[in-house]
Symmetry: C2
Subunit: 547 residues, 2 copies
């Protein structure tokens, strides 16, 4: 099976898309039966359920099994995963590496794209696994965990393939009487460790995973102990395709651990580990950057996502759009706005002047409208992913004046789920670092100029993955854009429709910039792939090579 | 003056060349009057001499002047350079940065290429400056310090421009009823510190300098205190072009220090310094990598360049080629072979079996043939660049059996020059780290397999910038090539003609790989430029942007 030939057209289209940056997606995002077929949803759910309470079918050497997951929805998972010791994982990866590093960039791209194709065939099964392990509402679990993650993975493969083929593989070089044959070998860097997070196990892990694979590195995938299943399926599919293509399946391995006995630091410091992709807390990301010096470390951490509200000609649209952003997955996205910077004197709108309190009330009311019906609300909020968050909400309540309180909702389908609506607290202090969860701060500022100053200062100090501005004044939009470029955060302006600041579209939007403390990498740019391999060349006289 | 329009065709050709990798050069390497004109050499020399003993004309704020140079040829330089304090350099660069970062990639490429064009017009003056400060023979100083360095700089500009324009600058993105205008800003990283070396002040500094400039970063150029003039001319030209193009000339500044009062560590640790390009000792390169954590650090350090000699069908050609490589600039190139690994039982040649001693004698005799006439010899060896080297030669004499001794030569043109011919010492130990200078080691090995093992081990541990192999056996060539790819060093096979292992051609050969301890960067690949900036995007609804 020539996987490269099968997928070459897709790859070519993807490579063009990352340059052109218009809307393009390779995997349909609608879970509709019209798109995926009448039985796809039911079959995917059944396939997911068939995995529960059993040994996960992964042909990986193991010394035992682990079952560390805990569903935020209260779904009994009890999947048992092979426990493979770090020494074994490293040794397996080193052995498997040889064949993989010697494969051509196109052979590797073919394998990577076939893995994506097979993951796409299992997209409903994956969506159920993401839903169960993250607590995301099903549609979000499907879209973000399935097609959007596949798009991001494809994007990484496209960048990786482009980068490796930036120069010809070989050439005859002639200068006067000397003629040399030169060969440019892609020399992959070494083992790639991919450290997953609890909230977006596929979307955040696949880009690094596929970037490392495509550039010839074996990967060890270390899921968050509470969100193993989506990455276990990923590794299972990867191993299946690798074996079919004649490679050692240990090019992709799963490293499961528990919160009580973590193995991540051990793996991260191994001299053989040359690449690390991490999504998670600032503390651990900073630790990796400071300590895993033998590796190139790509991190996405946390920041203070900020909205500068100056004025609007669509007050209701602004409030609705912001409310939706706050509500999505209960503010547990790394891209959720946290700080709403609003002049204390209020703002101009198409309906006249609105005071600070009217603005915050407008956003709060829009949130309330979306949460009024619990059955509909949970399809946006999903569940609270970990037990620290309710305490954090309680603490936030003391930070200032509660504009909108966070309330529990009983999940109609999952009695065990902890659901909390977004909270908005008016504060004048304490908003300078991340408060992960459904907590946003409405910050009164002296003026929009002051807002921009605070934006620059807080994002400069703590970073951000997203920023937004609402203004009808071109000069304000320009000033915020200039500040955003300077502190290195992507900016959304005047979003009032169906695009939200938390969302980034593969092949068009860059996710994180690598230019502020919230992340040192971006999904995806040249820097995300170019260090994952090196070119090593050999050259010899033409006559000799004909001998 | 539209510098981009002036140079766009050159840039386009260069971008194609870095992909195609055949022979191409933008700047003629022959100093012949037929190429550069009858008066070029004399005028360049006169321009150089007019600089001596004076304040160097650089319009840069200064608190005093420094005159730290010491010519290996004994030429009295006594040029006085402005002394600018680190605080001032940093402040100037930060101020100058704004206009430069906001310029377009094409505007910056235009300026960079105009700088190269004007440097090319002063190529004989530069060659004299390189000759005087490095002790290189004039033709090498001209070629390596002029056209070849210009080619490497152009290559860096081409990579930098390509990388910034990898995606469209803006796009209209439409998905269903949402239509957004997206702008992709290039966000340069910050101040680039370029730390020059004594031996190749332009060739080794220009790639990082022009890569940083092209990607929107201001540069502070810190020359080696003994090789300031070539970089002072560089900065002078850069400032002149920057000012003409309407930019703050402090986008390029010169930071001169002395061996007694070095400022490099101070500058390297400044939080505003985000990029560092360094060529020099392993000790200082390692220090930078470990300590300048706020910056991306690109290093070229030292290694143990190795030649595996297995067999040859052109014994005389092999000996002549190796001898020339050892002789060039008295082994003071970072690419000069150090370890010659030869089976103790000898090798097969077209003239029958040659013993270990016959092989080493063959190389030694070829060196002697090239050094027999002192006037001709110094045109290859140049002068010894620093006073530590004669001591190192004396010490090397004690390491084993001297196959070829290093001898002083009186330089016919420069009585003050220290000239030493190459030395070859047969050793069984002590060859595992770099011995900078005209010292090579002939190492008897148990077999070629043992040679490959030693190659793998020593280069794996200490790195190398070049490697070579001589063999008539395809299996041996393959085995060495595989080992070279694994330890990440560029390999030259069976060179017997006019190409030498020490030479790398811009637009075709990669110099250093970044894949072994001798360097963490390569001239030039995508990784050399992709981290020097980030993309920061902004997006807004199309309707709003028309408002």
């Amino acid at each position: 099976m020539d996987f490269f030939a099968t997928h070459e057209e897709l790859l070519t289209t993807a490579i063009r898309a990352i340059s052109e940056r218009g809307y393009w997606s390779a995997y349909p995002e609608s879970p509709s039966p019209k798109v995926y077929g009448e039985n796809a949803a039911a079959e995917g759910k059944a396939a997911f359920e068939a995995l529960l309470g059993k040994d996960f079918p992964l042909d990986q050497p193991a010394t035992g099994s682990l079952s560390p997951e805990k569903s935020p929805l209260g779904i009994a998972l009890d999947v048992r995963y092979p426990k493979t010791e770090p020494d074994q994982l490293i040794a397996n990866a080193q052995t498997a590496w040889r064949g993989w590093r010697e494969a051509s960039p196109s052979a590797r791209a073919g394998v990577a794209l076939e893995i994506l194709s097979r993951l796409h065939k299992r997209v409903f099964e994956l969506a159920n696994a993401v839903h169960a392990t993250t607590g995301q509402a099903f549609v979000m679990a499907f879209q973000a965990g399935g097609p959007h993650a596949l798009d991001r993975a494809l994007e990484a493969v496209a960048y990786g393939y482009s980068e490796q083929t930036r120069q010809v593989p070989s050439v005859t070089w002639t200068k006067k009487s000397d003629s040399l044959t030169k060969t440019f070998h892609v020399a992959p860097r070494g083992i790639g460790l991919v450290i997953g997070c609890n909230t977006f196990p596929t979307w955040n892990s696949w880009p690094g995973l596929f970037a490392s694979l495509a550039t010839g590195n074996p990967v060890i995938v270390k899921p968050h102990p509470h969100a193993v299943l989506p990455l276990a399926i990923t590794v299972q599919v990867a191993r299946e395709v690798l074996a079919e293509a004649g490679f050692d399946p240990n090019v992709a391995q799963l490293a499961v651990d528990t919160r009580e006995a973590p193995i991540t630091k051990d793996l991260a410091l191994r001299p053989e580990v040359k690449l690390i992709d991490f999504t998670g807390s600032t503390a651990f990301g900073d630790w990796l950057e400071a300590n895993a010096r033998q590796a190139l470390v790509y991190t996405e951490k946390a920041g203070v996502n900020t909205v500068v509200i100056d004025s609007t000609d669509d007050f209701a649209g602004m409030c609705r759009n912001l409310a939706f952003s706050l509500l999505l997955y209960s503010g547990q996205m790394c891209t959720t706005p946290q700080n709403l910077l609003i002049p204390s004197g209020g703002i101009a709108t198409e309906g006249g002047h609105k005071s600070f309190d009217e603005v915050t009330r407008g956003v709060a009311d829009a949130v309330s409208a979306l949460t009024a019906d619990p059955a509909k609300a949970v399809e946006l909020t999903g569940a609270i992913v970990n037990e620290e968050i309710p305490d954090r909400i309680d603490n936030a309540r003391k930070l200032g004046e509660v504009v909108l309180d966070s309330t529990p909702i009983a999940h109609p389908a999952y009695p065990g789920a902890v659901v909390r609506t977004p909270m908005i607290v008016k504060v004048t202090d304490g908003y300078g670092s991340e408060c992960f969860g459904p907590v946003s701060f409405a910050v009164p500022t002296a003026s929009t100029a002051d807002s921009i100053d605070i934006f620059r200062r807080t994002v400069g100090a703590k970073g951000a993955l997203t920023a937004a501005v609402y203004s009808t004044d071109e000069a304000v939009l320009d000033a915020v854009e200039q500040a955003a470029v300077e502190v290195g955060v992507h900016l959304s302006q005047n979003l009032t429709g169906g695009v939200f600041v938390n969302q980034s579209a593969a092949f068009s939007d860059f996710h994180a910039s690598g230019a502020n403390p919230a992340a040192n990498a971006s999904l995806t740019d040249g820097a995300f792939v170019s260090g994952r391999f090196r070119i090593v060349q050999s050259r010899r006289p033409v006559a000799a090579s004909q001998g």
